[in-house]
């Protein structure tokens, strides 16, 4: 807690709250969690006109103080001063969408009634104008009894004015705090409607750009085809756009390794840095471009308003497996990482719906699997096209994602019939207006993801690699015996190998399986470390890329089985930890780990045996 005055940014979903938050705080944001719950806490620092700093916290969007899901509950608790680990805000900035006044004013009235110093940001006035609406902020301010500032967050309009008003509010004596019971819902609604009518100066028939676009994008057939095409382009882009920056990063890692070799005398420190640190972590870092491209697409889909359309299109399909279209959004986020995906299930109100979504979220191919898929695909799948400019490697990648999705749908269906049986929940959702996202907002989002990834690489991945390097380097193998087999890690892997040999896994894979529980990417760095250690005295082997070395040691059947394993395996401690926290115990977490391991084993086995039978072994 910073000890600074706290201002909360609150409003309906789709009121443009996050854009306003970004415009007010810039890139100086802090991401964290509220204690005890996994709702993300986003805060930043804002300077008032006289230079006084204020902490601004961006609360999850909600429609009223009557929460319908766990994240809306946080908003209510913070505003009422009941949230653990957060002091009661000193002032509120209520964000309302200018083109949806009747609706957003109802919540604003509810908030103003609390008696906290409040300023209303009449946001997205430009879009209201596009829709043929002209509003008078002065009338609105008089009717509401609090200052009202017209803002266009995406163009930074009205921000100085907003800061000035906050300054005025924060200088007054602290307001008496009331939680007077809200008036009857219908009475507040009518009041909101009356005020909205009064504030509207002119209203011409709107151009309905959104409705026109929706005719195409929500079309039962065309819309579905477009959604599939979008996802396909996304996965192709992850492969093709990333290759140039990834090669550049790889060049830097190699140069760094050479620098270590040139500056340090041969010995244990040299080996440790080269094999354990540069080799291991470097093998993961080169996947940063792919991960950022994936996040770019997901942030774009969210910011443009398309994500809600995707949920609409998917609802009919999701309903067949007992879920709602709303579950599609956390599942799509899980393509980036299951941890935020599982956290995003907090917007699902039905508990069984939510539990099912959590249980299948790890089946979505997260970005940590990209390094693994990337390595194996580039080593074993030829880089040629299969026609129409579609690359074979990208196609295989796409298929791996499809297997994850189909597996998830079947799992959801089976779970809903058995362990999470219950009445199917509904699908009620707002479809926001389409908007062109502001590049700065996308950049801030990408920057935050890059920092999180690099932190992972610098902490958990580095640490796991160091432990692994030690376990693999000692005791020293006598001549003629492979170090990776003779070492402590090699002996442990030997034990695991008995279990996974039937599904085509070799000792390299057995060795990588355990540390990859810490983070999936470690599978790649672990294999890289194995080869670096084994190749210690073999200068020629060191010059070869990791992929080339794999080709010499793995069969295609083994490689495919390894990919199939990674589609289903319940890995990564972070996912398990967040599942435990979200399901409040080990019961469902244990269940999830169990069923995913069984699936992974079966899938790898079937893949291997089929491939061997087809003569690929």
């Amino acid at each position: 807690m910073s000890g600074l005055p706290l201002v909360a940014l609150v409003g309906n979903p789709n009121a443009g709250k996050s854009a306003l938050f970004n415009a007010l705080t810039g890139a100086r944001q802090k991401l964290g969690n509220y204690p005890g719950v996994t709702v993300e806490r986003k805060s930043g620092r804002l300077s008032l006109p006289d230079g006084r700093p204020v902490e601004l916290v961006d609360l999850p969007g909600t429609y009223s103080l009557d929460p319908n899901s766990p994240d809306e509950q946080v908003t209510r608790d913070v505003i009422l001063g009941r949230q653990e680990g957060e002091k009661r805000p000193d002032a509120l900035v209520v964000v309302v969408d200018a083109s949806n006044l009747d609706n957003h004013l109802r919540f604003a009235l509810e908030l103003i009634a609390l008696g906290l110093p409040t300023v209303v940001a009449l946001n997205m006035v430009d879009l209201a104008t596009r829709d043929g609406l002209e509003l008078d902020a002065t009338i609105l301010s008089r009717e509401l009894g609090v200052p009202v500032i017209s803002t266009v967050a995406v163009r930074k309009r009205g921000l100085d004015h907003l800061r000035q008003e906050l300054d005025g509010l924060m200088s007054g004596a602290p307001a008496p705090y009331t939680t007077k019971p809200a008036r009857d819902f219908d009475a507040v609604r009518k009041e909101a409607r009356r005020i909205a009518r009064a504030a509207i100066v002119r209203e011409t028939p709107s151009r309905r750009l959104t409705a026109a676009v929706d005719r195409v994008l929500l079309h039962p057939v065309i819309g579905f085809v477009i959604l599939l095409a979008l996802l396909f382009v996304m996965f192709q882009a992850v492969f093709s756009w990333a290759s140039a920056p990834a090669d550049m990063l790889e060049g830097w890692v190699t140069a760094l390794g050479e620098a270590v070799t040139n500056t340090l005398p041969p010995g244990i420190v040299h080996d440790f840095l080269l094999q354990g640190v540069v080799g291991g972590v470097g093998a993961v870092i080169v996947f940063l471009p792919q991960i950022l491209i994936l996040f770019f697409f997901i942030l774009m889909l969210e910011a443009t308003g398309y994500m809600a359309r995707a949920a609409f299109i998917m609802d009919a399909l999701m309903a067949r497996v007992g879920l709602s279209g709303r579950a599609f959004i956390p599942l799509l986020s899980s393509f980036a990482c299951a941890v935020p995906g599982i956290m995003a299930t907090r917007t699902i109100s039905d508990p069984k719906d939510r539990l099912t979504t959590i249980l299948i979220a790890p089946l979505m191919t997260c970005s940590a699997r990209l390094p693994v898929y990337g390595l194996i695909i580039s080593a074993f799948i030829p880089a040629r096209t299969v026609g129409w400019g579609v690359g074979l490697q990208g196609l295989v990648m796409f298929l791996l994602y499809v297997f994850g999705i189909v597996g998830a749908l079947i799992a959801a269906w089976a779970l809903r019939l058995t362990v999470t049986k219950g009445q199917s929940s509904g699908f009620l959702m707002e479809m926001p207006k389409y908007q062109w996202p502001r590049p700065q907002d996308l950049l801030i989002g990408l920057w935050q993801r890059a920092v999180i990834f690099l932190k992972r690489a610098g902490t958990i991945i580095l640490f796991t690699n160091i432990v692994l390097w030690v376990l693999m380097s000692f005791p020293k193998a006598p001549d003629g015996v492979r170090q990776s087999e003779y070492s402590i890690a090699g002996r442990i892997a030997g034990g695991i190998n008995v279990l996974v040999e039937p599904i085509g896994f070799n000792r390299d894979i057995s060795l990588a399986l355990l540390p990859s529980m810490a983070a999936r990417e470690v599978a790649v760095s672990a294999i890289a470390t194995v080869y670096a250690i084994d190749a210690e005295d073999d200068v020629e082997a060191l010059d070869k890329g990791l992929g080339e070395r794999l080709q010499g040691r793995w069969t295609l059947a083994t490689a495919l089985a390894f990919l199939a394993w990674f589609v289903f395996a319940p890995q990564c401690i972070s996912t398990i930890a967040v599942t435990r926290r979200e399901t409040a115990g080990w019961k469902w977490t244990g269940f999830m780990i169990g069923y995913l391991f069984v699936l992974a084993y079966a899938a790898a086995g079937v893949t291997y045996w089929t491939a061997v039978a087809a003569g690929l072994g």
């Binding site: 609706n103 609604r189 409607r193 079309h219 609409f312 009919a316 707002e430």
Partner: protein
């Protein structure tokens, strides 16, 4: 006529909502979306391959999506007398 039967893009008004057909939280969410007796409503899109999917409709100035079983709880009417309800609300 039920909202499920309302032809696409024909402006109408909500006549009656059978709140008992909705769970308390669903009813609350619909009210928060502005769906109430007298509100203007217009069906925009039917989702799903056979039109069995959710319905997207405009309520006031907002577009919302709901499943058919929920939409069936909403009775709407078209015609001139609806305008009176709109202004009174």
């Amino acid at each position: 006529m039920r909202l499920t039967d309302l032809p696409l893009r024909q402006p109408a008004y909500v006549d009656l909502i059978d709140w008992s057909a909705l769970s308390p939280s669903e009813g609350q969410r619909l009210r928060e979306f502005g769906l109430c007796e007298g509100a203007s409503v217009e069906a925009l899109h039917h989702g799903g391959f056979l039109g069995k999917g959710p319905i997207a409709c405009k309520v006031g100035r907002m577009t919302i999506a709901m499943r058919r079983n929920h939409a069936a709880a909403v009775t709407v009417r078209t015609g001139p007398d609806g305008a009176g309800a709109e202004n009174e609300a």
